[in-house]
């Protein structure tokens, strides 16, 4: 209409503006695409077997377990000592060995939970990449911090439960041993409160440690 070719040609100013618009989009893509790709590769790397994120998580789980069992171990030793089980005695050794087994089990569980948490974070990260919802990037981080909390809390609980159980077992072992000695010395007739287990401050008749169900 307005030109010989039948098309209205752009003015130099319009052309410059159009070029500016394209340059802006190019700049936008160049700024964001690397960040997006970095997020993708970070998530991919963290998801791989033996990744640093996995090593960090399992290492933390081991440390959490070691720290929690160390503390509970000291409490157990004190508890055993208070109840009359001398350090190095078979009762004390039984309890401490049992606690070591529990610590190993707890470490294994902690590692398994860590692996699962990293898998969860990886899945969530992939979800973010395929844009499965706003805020997914935040949930990747929160899954990892959740793992850290879970690991520490699980280790502490395991250690506490183990210490209580082992102390109880040791006391039952003491009672059984005491019972055997008592039997050897005088039979059922002489069995009394003081004869059952002198090292146990608990009253046998209360049933607190006396019944097998309560201690096992």
């Amino acid at each position: 209409m307005g030109s010989k070719s039948g098309q209205v040609s752009e003015t130099p100013q319009e052309r410059a503006q159009a070029e500016h618009a394209v340059a802006q989009m190019k700049d936008y893509r160049q700024r964001w695409l690397p960040l997006q790709q970095k997020l993708a590769s970070t998530i991919e790397d963290e998801g791989k077997a033996g990744s640093s994120a996995r090593a960090l998580a399992t290492g933390k789980a081991s440390t959490d377990t070691a720290m929690a069992f160390q503390k509970s171990g000291e409490q157990l030793e004190k508890g055993l000592s208070d109840s009359g089980a001398a350090p190095g005695s078979s009762r004390a050794n039984l309890a401490i060995t049992g606690m070591g087994t529990d610590a190993a089990a707890s470490t294994g569980l902690g590692h398994m939970m860590s692996e699962q948490s990293i898998d969860d974070a990886y899945t969530q990260g992939l979800g973010a990449l395929t844009a499965l919802g706003r805020g997914e990037k935040a949930s990747v981080g929160s899954a990892l911090s959740q793992q850290a909390r879970q690991s520490a809390s699980q280790a502490a609980t395991d250690a506490q439960v183990s210490a209580m159980a082992r102390q109880g077992d040791a006391q039952i072992a003491g009672q059984v041993a005491g019972f055997g000695i008592q039997q050897g010395m005088g039979g059922f007739g002489s069995m009394g409160k003081s004869g059952v287990n002198s090292s146990t401050p608990m009253d046998y008749s209360s049933g607190m440690y006396g019944t097998p169900q309560a201690g096992v």
């Binding site: 618009a21 802006q24 936008y28 893509r29 997006q36 990449l129 395929t130 919802g133 706003r134 997914e136």
Partner: protein, 134 residues
């Protein structure tokens, strides 16, 4: 992700299996999708996807010759539930702002769009049509 929104830069060809059906619903013209894909490949349009749907946007000089840029929304379609416009309005603002645009513009073939838009949206041109006589 990009511009603090849930949108990601996407390769329109790689995502076409998801985007194609949406384009057909928005613009039934045969070449509508081809044009979008060509512009994205050439770099004159950006394809952005989120869990909610897809945006294909271009920057263009404003029609008044002021030298300002406007973000022309070539395609905005959702594979989520109703209310996608309201959910993504602020995201569109964030993307437009970072791209340096001062206005948002779109065209639609769908009647009744004004009912779902915020009142600050205005119609800036009207297309007339009639049947050819005779």
């Amino acid at each position: 992700m990009i511009s603090g929104t849930p949108f990601l830069l996407a390769d329109i060809d790689a995502e076409w299996h998801r985007i194609g059906p949406l384009v057909e619903g928005v613009d039934p013209r045969d070449n509508a999708g081809d044009d979008l894909r060509r512009c994205c490949r050439e770099g004159s349009a950006l394809c952005l996807i989120s869990s909610d749907g897809v945006l294909v946007v271009s920057l263009q000089p404003d029609r008044y010759g002021t030298g300002e840029l406007e973000l022309f929304v070539r395609l905005a379609a959702s594979w989520g539930g109703p209310g996608a416009i309201q959910r993504n309005d602020a995201h569109l603002d964030a993307i437009a702002k970072e791209l340096g645009a001062s206005r948002l513009v779109f065209r639609t073939l769908r009647p009744g769009m004004s009912k779902v838009l915020h009142p600050e949206w205005t119609v800036r041109c009207t297309e007339f049509e009639r049947a050819v006589h005779g």
